[in-house]
């Protein structure tokens, strides 16, 4: 294909600009990572920008030795894994009948789902309802309110609708019912949409802040985000009773940076594996949703 000089300049300058923007997008992360690996004195003297100075693992070793942080971490991890699995299960159970023309209530329920998506209830009646069913100060509140999202439901339904009819008919002839159909044929062939929605649900549960803020009083049940918020706003990074940071090679700032990175490691770790799925999945949702 012929490309004129002007075209090349055009494409090259756009590419350069985008690379610059990508760099700017990850600079804040790099900055926090470097601080967490730098010595207290380098940080205090403003020597750290986006590369660690006087590399040390001291703030990290302090962080990973804190039992309360690990407790929050495993609580968050556990609720994310269980919550995501449960959410996919419940969403699939409703999305499947909604994708079937023979399901009589389908169109009525779909209208209801769309209404639930558009009209957000004010937070107070929501709070009173959730408290009313006994989820106040109950760690289950980290999972239960997230097990069905109308938007994700619609994405899954559109995906099921595309499912080739012939395959299902063949299975019906062999005498399998709807349940076997869903779990043995449809779901195993829906990996792309399952992976995408798993990511969507997992990110919401992992990152949730408002729900625990509203419903959890007991600090024992604080998930990671609440814990980090405490560290950031209360300046109480150092465990009560411990010596002050004067004797150590870390300070509040390096500790806080290490905690922030600690809390996003799992997301960064699974991100590359899911990326190819979620772009595809988000497209399914955006084009048809």
């Amino acid at each position: 294909m012929f490309e004129s000089r002007g075209e090349k300049v055009f494409v090259t300058s756009i590419t350069t600009l985008l690379l610059l923007l990508s760099f700017i997008a990850i600079v804040p992360l790099l900055s926090v990572i470097s601080i967490s690996f730098s010595s207290k004195s380098a940080v205090v003297q403003n020597l750290v920008s986006i590369w660690p100075k006087e590399f040390t693992l001291d703030s990290w070793s302090y962080i990973v030795e804190r039992p309360d942080l690990w407790k929050s971490f495993f609580l968050t991890l556990g609720s994310t894994v269980i919550g995501t699995a449960l959410a996919l299960f419940i969403t699939a159970l409703l999305a499947y009948p909604l994708s079937k023309p023979e399901f009589r209530w389908g169109s009525v329920i779909m209208i209801g789902v769309v209404i639930a998506m558009i009209f957000k209830a004010p937070i107070i009646p929501y709070f009173l309802t959730v408290r009313g069913i006994g989820l106040y100060n109950n760690p289950l509140v980290l999972i239960v309110p997230h097990i069905l999202n109308p938007f994700n439901l619609i994405i899954m339904r559109s995906f099921f609708k595309e499912f080739p009819k012939e395959l299902e008919e063949a299975a019906f002839l062999e005498g399998s019912g709807y349940f076997r159909m869903l779990f043995q044929f449809v779901l195993p062939l829906s990996k792309a949409v399952l992976a995408t929605l798993a990511l969507f649900y997992a990110v919401v549960i992992w990152n949730q802040f408002q729900t625990p803020l509203l419903f959890l009083q007991n600090t024992d049940w604080f998930p990671l985000q609440m814990k980090i918020r405490q560290f950031i706003s209360d300046d109480n990074m150092i465990m009560p009773g411990a010596a002050s940071t004067a004797d150590f090679n870390f300070n509040e700032r390096t500790l806080r940076s290490a905690t922030v990175i600690f809390a996003i490691l799992p997301i960064i770790a699974v991100y590359p594996f899911l990326q190819k799925y979620f772009v595809k999945g988000a497209m399914i949702g955006s084009v048809k949703g």
């Binding site: 004129s4 590419t15 997008a25 804040p28 992360l29 900055s31 403003n46 909604l98």
Partner: protein
């Protein structure tokens, strides 16, 4: 009667499957939605949504009389306006630019870098932002290069709005491109081929093919954005606020949290929330009308 009996006999598994999801929708979506009636009642914890006494528009009147409310509403309008004008167009520009990268490895790298911030919680983002704007943070290091005195931006009400806009862009603009990229990828390649035959430059192709065909998607997303005009995101504002930035950063969401949850003024706070939803709905309605007039597109 007979027909529906047969229907149930054959298709009962479908109905059984739907039960858990429907229960969820009723409990977590519909009951709270209907529970909004307490904005017109004096809600008492012991009487519940239904038996609490009606008081008409009392709480709405109270809300308009509060000087606090007027300030908070003003802040919300201001941030909502900034979000529409400064944040909304960025993903469109980014998507148009990303579409021009022909090397797919490079494109993937750019996408990864721009998407990543979207996966961080606002607590984390605010942690990072507070660090960058701290006295010895990256922001002040850079200011120092230009011989500028350090600024405590997070404690200064003049910086709250820029910080709100910049963090919105940083976290979500990259992710916002996904929808537009999907729309661009569905454009017929033949259009570009014939444009090239006519000697149209890259820039002209963007202007006369990509952009016009992207407009319907832009319009739909714009309408959805307008509907959420006053919905600025509780997590973001709550986590970026400091006592010093209250005067410009306190919005309806944080106000509802304080009056409703912390001071237990349930009915009043619900009135504020309902006010917010109704204004959002009216805005969508008006803009939908307008967009139907200027083009064929619209939400309904």
């Amino acid at each position: 009667m007979l027909k529906s009996k047969i229907q149930l006999k054959v298709f009962w598994p479908l109905y059984v499957m739907a039960i858990p999801g429907l229960m969820f929708l009723i409990i977590f979506k519909y009951i709270p939605l209907l529970g909004s009636v307490i904005a017109f009642k004096d809600y008492s914890v012991f009487k519940g949504f239904i038996d609490s006494p009606w008081v008409g528009f009392k709480h709405f009147q109270k809300l308009l009389d509060y000087p606090d409310f007027v300030r908070v509403f003003g802040n919300t309008l201001m941030l909502g306006f900034l979000k529409i004008v400064l944040v909304f167009p960025i993903p469109i520009l980014l998507a148009l630019m990303m579409n021009e990268i022909r090397k797919s490895a490079l494109k993937k790298g750019v996408q990864t870098a721009l998407y990543i911030p979207h996966f961080l919680s606002w607590v984390i983002v605010s942690g990072i932002v507070f660090d960058i704007f701290s006295l010895s943070g990256l922001f002040n290091i850079v200011l120092g290069w230009f011989g500028h005195d350090p600024i405590l931006a997070m404690q200064d009400s003049a910086y709250f709005r820029p910080v709100y806009v910049l963090t919105s862009i940083w976290r979500d603009a990259g992710w916002g491109t996904v929808v537009y990229m999907a729309a661009i990828s569905s454009i017929d390649p033949q259009l570009y081929e014939s444009a090239m035959m006519d000697g149209a430059s890259r820039f002209r192709q963007i202007r006369h093919i990509t952009f016009p065909l992207l407009l319907p998607t832009v319009l739909v997303l714009f309408l959805l954005e307008i509907g959420n005009f006053l919905d600025l995101g509780f997590d973001q504002v709550f986590n970026l606020l400091t006592p010093m930035t209250y005067s410009v950063g306190d919005i309806l969401d944080t106000y509802v949290f304080r009056t409703g949850i912390q001071q237990a003024q349930y009915s009043f706070a619900t009135a504020v929330g309902l006010f917010q939803s109704v204004i959002g709905f009216i805005l969508v309605f008006i803009f939908n009308r307008l967009s139907k007039k200027v083009s064929d597109g619209g939400l309904w």
